[in-house]
Amino acid sequence: MNAPFSPPAGSVDGLVRESANEFKVATAAYRDPEIFRREMDVLFGRGWVYLAHESEVAAPGDYKSCWIGRQPVILARDDKGELNAFYNACPHRGTTLCRSEHGHVRAFVCPYHAWTFDLSGKLVGIADRGRYPDDFPMEDKKLHRIARLTNFCGLIFGALSDDVPAFEEYLGPAAKHVDLWLGRALGGRYRAGTPHRYLYRGNWKFQCENVLDGYHANPVHGSAYRTIRQFPQRFPGADSSRAITGVRTLGEARGYTNGHGMLGAGAALETGNIPEDVKQRYRAALVERHGEETAQQIVNNRHLLVFPNVCIMDNNIRVIQPIAHDLTEIYSYPMFLEGVEPEINAARLGDVQARVGTAGVVNLDDIEIFNSNQTAISAPGLEYITLSRGLGKEEVRNDGERIGHHSDETPQRAFWRAWQERLSAAENA
C-alpha cells in the first residue's frame, strides 16, 4: 500500500516549499517511516512536549505514565509536592517500572528484582544489598530524569534535551490564548478528567492541521450541523447560527513562528443543555472579572495548537499521540472548572463527549478524512499537497504572528514552516 515511488534521497530539506503564489508540503512528510523517525528524534526528542495537566498528579505519590514521542516517561509528584519526570526504566536491568496509565504510590518498586526508588527518583532499596561490592556506585542508579520540566499555568511540558528555549520564549505571543482559556475558570483552577481515547490509521499531522482548519467544517460536519438544527430544544440557536454550505466569514486563524496556531470562531460554541439562569450567572461573573469585551473573547470558541501535538480547546485538552507514520492515538481530556455551578461542568463534559469524544458526532468524521488521506497520498503524481489558502493575503505582525480569515491555511503554514526549520536544522547541524 505504501509509496510506489522513492522517498527523498536522505535529506529532509525542501519538503516544505513556499513561493509567492503557493505553499506546498511533500506527501512524503506524511507517509515516509524514515521521516517519522526523524520527527520523533528531532521534534519530540529535542523540544517541548505536553505531558499532563497538573491536576492529573495533584497529590504527593500521584503519577502518570506519559509518552514523549515514542519514549515512555513517568511524571510523579514527590513528598515535597515537587514534580519529577523520569524515563520509565529501571537502571538495574532496564525493566519498565510503571505499567499503569496513572496511579498513586509511596515508592516505585521494580517488578523484576524489587529495586525501590522514592518519588524523587532516588534509589532507596536494593534487595540483599550485601552481595554487591561495598563501594558499588549507587548515585547513577537513581531514576534518570528527563532534561527539562515546566509547569506553565497548570500545563506541564517536558523535554528530553537541554537544548530547548525557555518555555515562555517557545510559546511566544501565542501565550495570550492560554490566558483567555484560563479566564473561563473565573480565577479558579482546571481539573483534567478521564480522557476520551480513540485512534485512526493516518499520520499525526493530519489531526494537527485539522484542529486549526476552518475551511473543512461544513463539508465534513454538515451531517452533525444539519442534525443538531433539528433539536432546537437541546441546542437553542443552533438552527440560525450556521450556514451549512459555503465558508464561515466570522472568526480568524493565526499562526506563530514556533509552529503554534490558533483557530477562533469569533463566537461562542453552542454546547446546549445549560439552564438559562446558570448560564447567565456564569456570564455575569465573567463580565464582572474581565469586562464585557474580554468576557466575550474568553467564551469565544478557540483552538490553540501548541506545537507539535497538544491542542487546548474550550472544554478539553486534546493530545495527538503519534504511534507510527500511519497510526495515531488521541486522548481528549475533559477539563472541569473548580468552583463553578455543577451544571456548567456537566455541560462541558456532555459537550466534549457527544461532539468530540470516543464516539463523537463530529470528530469521527474528521478521522474518516485522515484515514482516507493516508490512502490517497501514496498516489504517484501527488508528490505535494497545497496549503495556500490566504497566502499573501494575511496580516503579518512584527513578532511573527500572522492573522488570516477563519478558513485560511495560515496556522497550517506556520506549523509546517517550524517543522521544516527544526528538521533541517537538525540535519545540517
Binding site: 478528567g193 480522557p195 433539528q230 470516543t358
Partner: protein, 161 residues
Amino acid sequence: MSAELLALVHREARLLDDWKLDDWLALFAPDGVYWLPIEEGSDPVRVASIIYDDVQLMAIRVEQLMRQNRISQTPRSETIHFITNVEVESEDGDTAVVRYNLLISELRSGDWRQNGLGQIRQHPGRVRLEAVRSDGEWKIREKRLLLLARQQPLEGLSYLL
C-alpha cells in the same frame, strides 16, 4: 427466564444489526439511557464515558446516521451482535435487570483496501439491561455496555453499538 425479556434482548440487537435505528430508539423508555462507561462504577455526570446518552442524544445519533449522510458511515458499518451468558438478575413485576455477554463484530466494506475499511473489528463487552414494563410492553430504561477495551483508544465508533 422470561421469554419476553429474552425477546427484548434479541430484538434490540437485531434492530441494530438491521440498521432499523428508529425502531431501535423506540425500544427505549422516555427516561431511557444508553451508556458505555470508561470507568466502571463511575458517576456519568462527572466522569467521561464513551457514550452517555438520554433519549434525545440517542435521537440525534439516529438522525445523523439514518438521514444526514454521515461521511464516516459512507460506506456504512455492518454489525453482528453475538449474545451469550444471559441471566435475569432480577424481575419484580414491571421492572427487570438482565445481564449478558456481548461480542460485536463490525466491518465497513466499501473499497476494502483503503485505510479504515475492510477490517473486521471485534468489541467484546458485558451488558446490563434494565427494563421497565409499561402498558404490558417491556422497554429499555438503561442499556449499559461495558466494553472490554473501554480504557484503550478505540477506532471508528461512528455507529451504534
